[in-house]
Amino acid sequence: MIALVAIVAVLLVIATAVQILKIAELRATESGKEIYEISAKQSKAQALLLMVFLVAYFGFFAWQVWKWGGLMLPVSASEHGVGVDELMNITLWFIIPVFIITHIFLFWFSYKYSFSETRKALFFSHSNKLEMFWTIIPSIALTVLILVGLSNWNKIMTPVASEQEHILIEVYGQQFSWTARYAGKDGKLGRASVEYIEGVNALGIDISDENAKDDKIVKGEFHLPKGVPVQFVFRSQDVMHSAYMPHFRAQMNVVPGLKTQFNFIPTITSEEMKKITNNENFEYILLCNKICGAAHYNMQMDIVVESKEDFEKWLAEQKEFSAE
């Protein structure tokens, strides 16, 4: 019944629209014009609307920054993340003025030079000087961006040297949960492969490997020490996932058949971040950022950053793999 009413309503709307168009055409023809001709007045009206749009567009932009600016990710909780944020700011300070200036020119010219019967357009087909100018300016700006970006990139992508003090954690992804495995006292992760998956050994750890005995497996949440480099290695059980830790400006794909890695130094504990964000319930989070199946939207694990002492205490409480 609803469908029938809807169909009738749509037909009525279409019929009305057709009649209105017909009448408009007739009126135009009567006044000796064709309806599709665009008069200077109509052009000016659209040009004016373009100006209104320009203001509204900038207004919308400003409104969003004002309204949602505070909801963005808080300060970076990792050392390299500060560099990322700085680069982001530099880039934004470059992008936003360009955005504003080009839009002003675009819409202002549209408005100013909208059609008039009396004016003649200027035949101006090229100017080597101008074209050179706006090839070179972006080139210089981009060179700066590229150089700053790449120096950061190389720093981030260098793995932690093995002799340096660090925590080694394997993050293991599967549909639709994360598991973390700490390397334990020996600082080495035991061998693992999907072939060994059986019963409680859900991560497929090779039981015969000596390095595996003191590995510690945690689910639900995992802890990180403040100020100590954390080397992550990532492994997937089934399809591709992506380990995304937005507060640490860290992301790496988790690929079956391939070990990927990422490292960072946490700099702000969870407690400190609660104060910074003024949010009692704040938690760091690891989420999946590569489409991985139906429950992709709910594949998460909490992260707790605490002082080194608290971290060691917590880690000591976790069961070793051999004890399970």
Binding site: Q42, V255, L258, I291
Partner: protein, 595 residues
């Protein structure tokens, strides 16, 4: 007079409208099929925006349209992914690749270069029918057991290879691959024809530097297509082998559904390399024709030559070339070699230079013009705006360091929808408004066109601009709902706002479709040259004839941008403010925009 004088009148219905080899009819077929696919893609996006804006709420329309894909008016999570996947596939390939290039390359190449038809009418017809069959298979895949392909339009394995991982990777994915293989064949046949026609069948006097920028853009697009689509075919074939025959090109070390799969030695990253070798040029396959179309419109409607004709061509060539060596920027977080990451950052940011040149040239074309705002011109100005707004955020995503934190978030969704989706669709719609009189011999209604433009641009920015903020807040894309994370709770308003704009955008397009159908059937009859354009298509009659020009094909004497050219006395050379390409050069007059 021979008996063959009016062969077109003897054609029966089937060969005139269905298996036509005439480029103008094929162009119409592409346009209409493309728009039907586009409408389906648009509807899908509106439906999943309902879920994102009002997660878990029951909608009558979802129940009605999705049937078993929904439960009590709420779509199921895996079917949400199917909708997202099909929306992406349809929009990128069927609307903005085949719909855009197919329509305008077919319509404008012979008409603007002065040719009777395409190099091979038969291959051209085949190109359309492959596209049609591919569209049908793609739509059929929506109804099969397990649902349509659900692994994202990028169909990354292993997700796309394993029905155990998501039901859509069963028969739905198989049909997706079949449809895409046929689609690629269609696209290649089209591109072959476009390239050869442009290079070999130009009329007398039509040198390469007298070609309208539309033709240049179609040429470069076709070349990019010929180079990159076969690689996608290779990638898809290897995926077919993995899925259907048990090879291990992409798969390795997988435990799923309680057992270890026997695949060993493959790498999903390989697929990404092959996919993005097409995938990135694909962006420019969408963009370049849109830029070509709007260059033509901006110049014509401003009554000024396009500023920096040669720079426009050079920058398109540069974009075309660079597009083939930047694919790695989609893979910064796949654990790629950091040095490689640096190289791809470099090449990616380089693309900004030719893009900037194009933008500045557009703006300078407007300067001191005499601009008539037809709906086509409004959409062209809109394209320049979206190209700037979306292009600038590319500087963030193209930078490997910054990409780490915004990769695969809503920031990316906002970026590519504005720079590729909106620019592509604005260019296409601008083209339809501008060349509608050439396609259907009738005029579209300008007032409805203006309303359509304003609703579209306002809602489009309303949808995609806030997405940048979602992305900067860390919201990943392809999430069925954001309600599972306390972190995202206060971003709820943004999603609701976006959905309202999406609904507005949907209804705005209905105005366009109404205008389109009404005007094609009942609109006022078009004059031969409604916009007072210079290029050759306006020298043909309103009524389509097989072979385009009765008698000889006109000879070309000048470039197509002699608008408002004055003689030494300060008067228009021909008495009007435009000089068609068929008017010979006066004594001492220089061609190609020399002063």
């Amino acid at each position: 007079m021979s008996a063959h004088q009016h062969p077109h009148e003897e054609q029966d219905f089937l060969f005139k409208y269905v298996f036509s080899q005439d480029h103008k009819m094929i162009s119409k077929q592409f346009l209409i099929t493309g728009f039907i696919m586009g409408f389906i893609g648009l509807s899908m996006s509106t439906l999943f925006r309902l879920q994102l804006g009002f997660p878990g709420e029951s909608f009558w329309i979802i129940d009605f349209l999705l049937g078993s894909w929904a439960e009590n008016g709420v779509m199921l999570p895996d079917k949400y992914l199917a909708l997202v996947t099909m929306h992406g596939t349809i929009m990128v390939f069927f609307l903005l690749t085949a719909g855009l290039s197919g329509t305008f390359s077919n319509l404008l190449i012979p008409l603007q270069i002065g040719a009777r038809d395409m190099a091979s009418g038969f291959l051209n017809m085949l190109s359309y029918w492959f596209f049609f069959v591919s569209s049908v298979i793609m739509l059929i895949s929506l109804g099969v057991e397990g649902g349509a392909a659900s692994a994202g339009w990028t169909i990354y394995p292993p997700l796309s290879a394993l029905p155990q991982a998501i039901p859509g990777s069963g028969l739905g994915m198989t049909l997706w691959l079949v449809a895409m293989a046929i689609f690629i064949a269609s696209s290649l046949l089209g591109s072959l024809n476009y390239i050869v026609t442009i290079l070999n069948l130009r009329t007398k006097g039509m040198t390469m530097t007298r070609l309208p920028l539309t033709i240049w853009s179609f040429l470069i697009t076709a070349i990019v297509g010929v180079i990159s689509f076969p690689v996608l075919l290779a990638a898809a074939l290897l995926l077919v082998f993995d899925r259907s025959f048990g090879t291990s090109f992409y798969l390795s070390d997988i435990y799923i559904g309680g057992q270890v799969l026997e695949h060993a030695g493959g790498s999903p990253i390989l697929f990404e390399h092959l996919f993005w070798f097409l995938g990135h040029p694909e962006v420019y396959i969408v963009l370049l024709p849109a830029l070509g179309i709007t260059s033509e419109i901006v110049s014509t409607m401003s009554r000024k030559p396009i500023f920096g004709y040669r720079a426009m061509i050079t920058s398109m060539l540069a974009i075309g070339f660079l597009s083939a060596i930047v694919w790695g920027h989609h893979m910064f977080v796949t654990g790629m070699n950091p040095f490689l990451g640096a190289v791809f950052t470099f090449t990616t940011l380089l693309i900004a230079i030719p893009s900037a040149v194009k933008v500045f040239n557009y703006i300078t074309t407007l300067w001191k013009g005499n601009i008539k705002f037809s709906p086509a011109m409004l959409f062209s100005v809109g394209l320049v705006s979206t190209f700037i707004s979306g292009g600038l955020t590319g500087l963030i995503l193209g930078d490997s360091t910054l990409d780490i934190n915004v990769h695969d978030t809503y920031f990316v969704v906002g970026h590519f929808h504005i720079v590729m989706g909106l620019s592509g669709i604005f260019g296409m719609i601008a083209g339809v408004y501008h060349w509608f009189p050439k396609i259907f011999g009738r005029m579209l209604n300008n007032n409805l066109g203006n309303v359509h433009f304003w609703i579209t641009i306002v809602s489009a920015y309303g949808i995609f601009f806030p997405m940048h903020f979602l992305g900067l807040a860390g919201v990943p894309r392809r999430y069925y709902t954001n309600s599972e994370f306390p972190l995202f709770d206060n971003l709820f308003d943004i999603n609701t706002l976006i959905t309202w704009f999406a609904i507005l955008a949907f209804f705005g397009q209905l105005i366009f479709f109404f205008n389109f159908v009404y005007s094609a059937l009942r609109g006022p009859k078009a004059p031969q040259n409604p916009w007072k354009g210079n290029s050759l298509e306006w020298t043909t009659g309103v009524k389509h004839i097989h072979g385009n020009w009765p008698g000889e094909i006109p000879t070309v004497y000048r470039w197509p941008y002699d608008y408002s050219k004055l003689n030494d006395n300060g008067d228009y050379v021909t008495g009007e403010d435009f000089i068609p390409q068929t008017v010979p050069l006066a004594d001492g007059e220089k061609d190609g925009g020399e002063h």
